[in-house]
């Protein structure tokens, strides 16, 4: 620390020091802490807060599932589909998972082409991402419709513990809302890439920032898939 104080008058550039000595350097000396665009830092902080929101849902789901004296419905059967007379467990959920992962893949590549100033590929990949996202929401709407027709309600269901419905609608509903908002967000940013908004601004950081949001939506689904559908 004494070492830092002696060099404090010349602000250390980002990249000086690595590991924990780098952390001390970045947080000290009365300067900007994170060596990233402010929008990116703020998106990360928003995602951190969103992590806590989804965690509250998942932990409360854990709590009701552990505390119910009535058997929890078997998600493998509840979410199964019958295709050509064959019962396939979790089929729709598996497809939804692959669709969302694919959307993350196209988004990651869009960020890359954005920084390379390849506008055509960036826009195409972002719109592909949005299309995958819209497909996901569509399949979720189908899933909700099917479950509601099967008699699943937030307060009761024919398969077992009544808390199943409230946890299901709350968690997947909030996630679906995030996907829907993400689709709109991506289309807006893609349009701004197309019309040269970011060329005037001078950087393509916003493509990466919207990508962070999108990957987070995929990340949340990883946890929902594991804890709600597979557990």
């Amino acid at each position: 620390m004494a070492n830092d104080a002696t060099t404090a008058d010349q602000t250390p550039a980002f990249g000086e020091g690595t590991g924990w000595s780098g952390v001390v350097g970045d947080w000290s000396s009365d300067k900007q802490t994170f060596g990233v665009p402010w929008g990116k830092a703020m998106m990360w902080i928003f995602l951190l807060s969103d992590t806590f929101i989804f965690s509250c849902f998942l932990v409360s789901y854990m709590k009701v599932r552990m505390s119910t004296a009535i058997a929890w419905p078997n998600p493998s059967e509840v979410f199964g589909l019958t295709v050509f007379g064959v019962d396939v467990p979790l089929l729709l959920i598996a497809i939804m998972t692959f669709v969302l992962i694919s959307s993350s893949g196209t988004m990651a590549m869009a960020v890359n082409f954005g920084y390379r100033r390849d506008k055509k590929k960036t826009v195409a990949l972002m719109l592909a991402t949005a299309a995958f996202g819209a497909t996901f929401v569509g399949m979720q709407a189908f899933e909700w419709t099917k479950l509601i027709q099967d008699g699943v309600r937030p307060w009761s269901n024919p398969f077992g513990a009544p808390q199943f419905g409230s946890a299901f609608f709350m968690i997947t509903g909030f996630h679906g809302l995030h996907v829907s908002a993400g689709v709109i967000y991506l289309v807006v940013v893609a349009n701004r890439v197309r019309n040269g908004f970011y060329d005037k601004k001078g950087n393509y950081d916003m493509v990466e920032i919207s990508g962070l949001y999108w990957h987070f939506v995929d990340l949340v689904w990883v946890f929902i898939f594991a804890f709600f559908y597979l557990w």
Binding site: W27, F34, W44, V59, A69, T97, G211, D218, V222, F225
Partner: protein, 108 residues
């Protein structure tokens, strides 16, 4: 195409590899259900594939692996307090479960 070396630029191939890996891990965790594993084997496999997928998404797709430790620790550190919440709610759930058994099932 100007030669900007700005922001996070990595070879496209790394994203394609991670994409493939995520597909494989998802397929494997789906197989856990198809195979009908139960109990601790099922839960540990689900958690393993979940953390592998989450780790690759955060590290590669969200570029965390290439950020400075100041940002990594500020974002990935705070969620660790959730372990306390999980622990407390698990205790609470056990208590609620036992109370329900006592009053709804046994004590009629």
């Amino acid at each position: 195409m100007s030669e900007h070396a700005e922001g996070q630029q990595h070879p496209i191939s790394i994203y394609l590899w991670i994409w493939l890996l995520l597909f494989v891990f998802s397929a494997l965790s789906y197989m856990v259900d198809i195979a009908g594993f139960q109990g601790y084997l099922r839960w540990s496999l689900i958690l393993l594939f979940m953390f592998l997928k989450a780790g690759f998404i955060v590290a590669i797709f969200m570029h965390m692996a290439w950020e400075r430790l100041a940002l990594i620790s500020a974002i990935l550190g705070p969620p660790l307090v959730l372990l306390v919440l999980i622990w407390l709610m698990a205790i609470e759930a056990d208590y609620t479960f036992l109370t329900r058994l006592l009053y709804f099932e046994i004590g009629d």
